[in-house]
Amino acid sequence: MSPVCILGIGSPFAGDDLGWLLAKALERAGLPRYFPAGMVHITLCDRPGSLLLPAMRGARLAILLDAMRSGAPPGTLRRMDMLELDDSAGLLSSHGFGVAEALALGRALEELPPRVLIYGIETGQAPSPPPLSDLEALLWPAIIDDIRICMDELRISYVPSAGTTSFPPVNANPIAGEPCGKGLVCSHAL
């Protein structure tokens, strides 16, 4: 298991695919290649339920990308630490056992990675997804920082993977759009 696992939660179908689309965008932009080999792994999870726990097992940092319905304006990207997650987060579940339940179960069983971050993307009741390029631009620098902190905690020094020469440029986002400060709740009206 890589020290950092990034999990796109959802399904391949429109309306439930925001987590997947963002995870794919990070993969496409080569995020893992900016870090030492084996440091970062990106996975797509199809409505994992309790299977979320084995999917995160062994990781030091788990980053979940998932749709959210909390009443915020559609397109809002909200970064939450597992420690601050409660019922008001509004993570979506089409079944009886969703991400929030799986995380609560993992916490009760003391089987969670030391750090779990959730990037919730507010969907609201909008028929179409928020502009992905905007979301990607928000996500990239925040996740880079999350991984960098994890590496510092693990005392892993930066050795770039093949094909990269420098640390991922936070302010030169290879995905799209303008960077946004880490941890900010940014809203994009649809």
Binding site: D46, R47, P48, G49, S50, L51, L53, P54, S94, H95, G96, F97, E101, A104, L105, R107, A108, L109, E110
Partner: protein, 432 residues
Amino acid sequence: MIQPREIRLCVPVLARVEGEGALDLEVHGGRIQTLRLRIFEPPRLFEKFLEGREYQEVPDMVARICGICPVAYQMSAVHAIEGVFGLDPGPWVRAMRRVFYCGEWIQSHALHIHLLAAPDFLGYGSAPEMAAAHPEAVRRGLALQEIGNAIMRLFGGRSVHPVGARIGGFHHAPAAADVVTLRERLRAALPQAEALVAWTAALPLPENGQDFVSVALRHPDEYPMNEGHIAASNGLDIPIAEYEARFAEHQEPHSTALYATLDGQPYLVGPLARLNLNQDRLHPSVREALARTGIPFPSRNMFHSIVARAAEIHYALLEAIRLLEGYREPPSPAVEGTPRAGTGFGCTEAPRGLLWHRYDLDGDGLVRHARIIPPTSQNQARIEEDLHRSLEALGLDKDDEALRQRAEMVIRNYDPCISCATHFLTVRVGRR
């Protein structure tokens, strides 16, 4: 003089079930006047989506009906279509489909027992609450669930909405080395499964004796999964093609799921019905584990469903191990079929019970008409009947919270899959 209470209870959204539903309960003068299990999840129209599609597309499309029991949908579909083509996929495919199905029973039952049903019996509001007090039990459940998922991944490529099944067999045969590894995991899990039977039987399950008709497949030699006649505890024994002659569906205004009845009466499908009708088809060691519980089967206590699920996990592990002994990769994982016009029927035992499919195909193998009758719509009338009896037995003078808890316990005990049936629980109780 005791003033009779008028009760109006609404459970607006039912937790720990698959899908969205609600319960409305009205009690007037100490008697239930209205009891409606409202399934309001929108109809999903899968049968219409299938019309005009090629027969090869059907297994992957119907797998999308349910994230918990996709294999069941695939198996009923492939049997029905192979029936139209007169196609016999042979013993390797037959055996491996059964292993595939064992995986689904194990994962679905382990999930339901540990994360959905057990908190009700142990007095916890949720699985995480229960996990804090019973961590080893929950870890066992997750481990068993993962073993079931491993079987499904081996044959289906992935455990959620697997894609390995096709008309005539599988797209890919597992490698022999992977089967050896899996078989060892299955063997190692047997003590956990046997212990689970005893653990479920030791739960403080309410007494809940009721009269009901059990309906399940019955096979001459096997505990039913993919094949058999439709049998019932009232003596019914018919080929699957005659389902429509004895079972009828009707619409109720409060539900987007159809209600199924047998000769006009509610009936039960699922693990307790299967066990009640097929105890003699279990492996001897499962029968022995059940005998040690002291619970007499056939049982009329609906809450013994959780024990039946545990017994079926034990059985499925043993059956998968047996079927994978001496595994060899076949020359081809599938047999090709030739499309022809006709009507085919498929009926298999999903984790939640009988799953009946009918397909009318044209000469090019295009679906002209599809009919899918999932277990939850078959159990819906039985659940309402059970709720009537269970709540009256509990005592309608109990407070709203006690009634709500018991109602939810009764409903969850059926492991309803509302998403499949939408065609599910918010409880609304009205007292006057």
